[in-house]
């Protein structure tokens, strides 16, 4: 049984923003995080604002040079979109092994990004795409890099009267590599032990753009900026990749839990970053 709560069901985005502006009530999207957490006592809350009926939030848009995901798009919506394989290969890879079929049908991208969980699988691929998030409130909108969205474990820059409206990015250039690797106990329906995404764009035999994001190995999912700086503009030799992987691992602050020890997370963050960088360089160069 779920604890008792009140629920409002706005039908439009302005109605939802008005409800949020009231200061009482937290957004409810697919409920695949919230309901298990409420039931388990990990989450409190007696007033929710359901976003399920707000059709304006559930869309996927591809324009000339930009992809926009409404926060209400589900993981299944992403998998069904034929252009997403090109616009965000690693996001498709992450969606493909996300939970099980029933959860994928309910789980939204907005809920995955906003829950602030270190093991949210869509986030490393979105970070390596250099995605922006657009937050909306009754008093207006603001857009910022996803890289600046997370403050700490389950803490984001979002204010109580704001919601995540959309996520957008410029698709990787043709020929570039965008990869995701989820280390977990099994392929389906498992929580990530270590989740790594890498993007490499090459030009003239050199690495033009590189982004590295690591999940489940620190209080928040993060970009390894220092490691990226070591690789940008260079030819990615094995030695250089090893140094970058070491640097990325150096930024990890893993914990031990019932899925893996901190030592194992650190070790795999290092080796998987190295593996993905090698693979991405081979694919892109």
């Amino acid at each position: 049984m779920l604890p008792r709560f009140e629920l409002s069901q706005p039908q439009t985005l302005p109605e939802a923003l008005k409800a949020l502006a009231g200061g009482v009530g937290q957004p409810l999207a697919g409920g695949t995080n919230l309901f298990p957490d409420l039931r388990g006592g990990r989450e409190k809350g007696d007033t929710f604002i359901s976003l399920s009926q707000v059709g304006e939030l559930r869309y996927i848009e591809h324009t000339d040079n930009r992809v926009t995901l409404g926060s209400g798009a589900t993981i299944s919506d992403i998998l069904r979109d034929p252009q997403m394989k090109i616009a965000a290969p690693a996001l498709v890879a992450a969606s493909d092994i996300f939970a099980g079929a029933m959860v994928r049908n309910a789980a939204t991208i907005g809920g995955n990004v906003c829950c602030g969980s270190p093991s949210a699988d869509s986030v490393p691929p979105l970070l390596t795409l250099g995605a922006d998030v657009t937050l909306a409130s009754a008093s207006g909108e603001r857009t910022l890099p996803l890289d600046e969205f997370y403050l700490d474990y389950k803490k984001t820059v979002m204010k109580p009267d704001e919601l995540l409206a959309s996520i957008s990015w410029t698709p990787p250039t043709p020929g570039s590599a965008h990869l995701f690797y989820k280390l977990s106990r099994r392929k389906g329906d498992a929580i990530t032990i270590t989740g790594i995404s890498v993007l490499v764009e090459a030009e003239g035999g050199k690495c033009k753009t590189v982004r590295i994001a690591l999940g489940s190995v620190a209080p928040t999912i993060f970009r390894a900026h220092e490691a990226e700086g070591m690789l940008a503009g260079r030819v990615l030799t094995s030695e250089l990749i090893e140094e970058a992987a070491q640097s990325a691992a150096g930024q990890c602050k893993p914990i031990s839990d019932n899925r893996a020890s901190a030592e194992y997370r650190l070790l795999t963050a290092h080796s998987l970053t190295r593996r993905l960088l090698r693979q991405a360089w081979k694919q892109a160069s």
């Binding site: 009140e6 629920l7 309901f35 298990p36 039931r39 359901s50 049908n105 329906d189």
Partner: protein, 162 residues
């Protein structure tokens, strides 16, 4: 905002009216109405025992609110067939021994039905992926995968004959 609300939905084609508070799950509300073919396992989205089709899409009814089913179509295992006229999936589960204690079976067949509706020729991998949100403590899954393959073939033959 109100604490209780009258919700009308259709279950296996028949209209059902319920009065229910916001925090009541679709699983609880429908079992209370006598639809006990929907099974309650983990009640947190892990096991798939509670799966139903909501407007044709499989969801875990234990993490779906009854309010969210307002005006929509719910299909349970009983909506797929009965012992006189079973769905090819139900038939195949019986024939292969894909059901042992049977607790996971309603959800398993609902998830498999959704797969076959979308993909009439699934590979073994497609089947495993489609059923990865359904846990079974008895069969070891082999017979279940076999049953889905047999049902897929039966449905294809049915389609060719028609």
């Amino acid at each position: 905002m109100s604490s209780e609300k009258a919700v009308t939905l259709r279950v296996n084609g028949n209209e059902v009216n319920i009065i229910t508070p916001a925090h009541r799950t679709l699983l609880e509300a429908l079992r209370h109405e006598g639809f006990v073919e929907i099974k309650s396992g983990c009640e947190k989205g892990d096991c798939g025992a509670c799966a139903v089709l909501l407007d044709g899409v499989p969801v875990d009814s234990c993490i779906t609110l009854a309010w969210h089913a307002e005006g929509r179509d719910v299909t349970t295992i009983k909506g797929l067939g009965n012992s006189d006229s079973p769905d090819p999936l139900q038939k195949a589960f019986i024939e292969t021994g894909g059901a042992q204690c049977g607790y996971c079976t309603p959800g398993m067949i609902i998830a498999a039905k959704a797969l076959l509706n979308e993909n009439p020729e699934p590979s073994l991998d497609d089947i495993k992926k489609a059923l990865s949100g359904n846990l079974c403590r008895c069969t070891g899954y082999t017979k279940i995968f076999e049953a889905v393959q047999i049902a897929a073939e039966d449905l294809r033959k049915e389609g060719e004959a028609a």
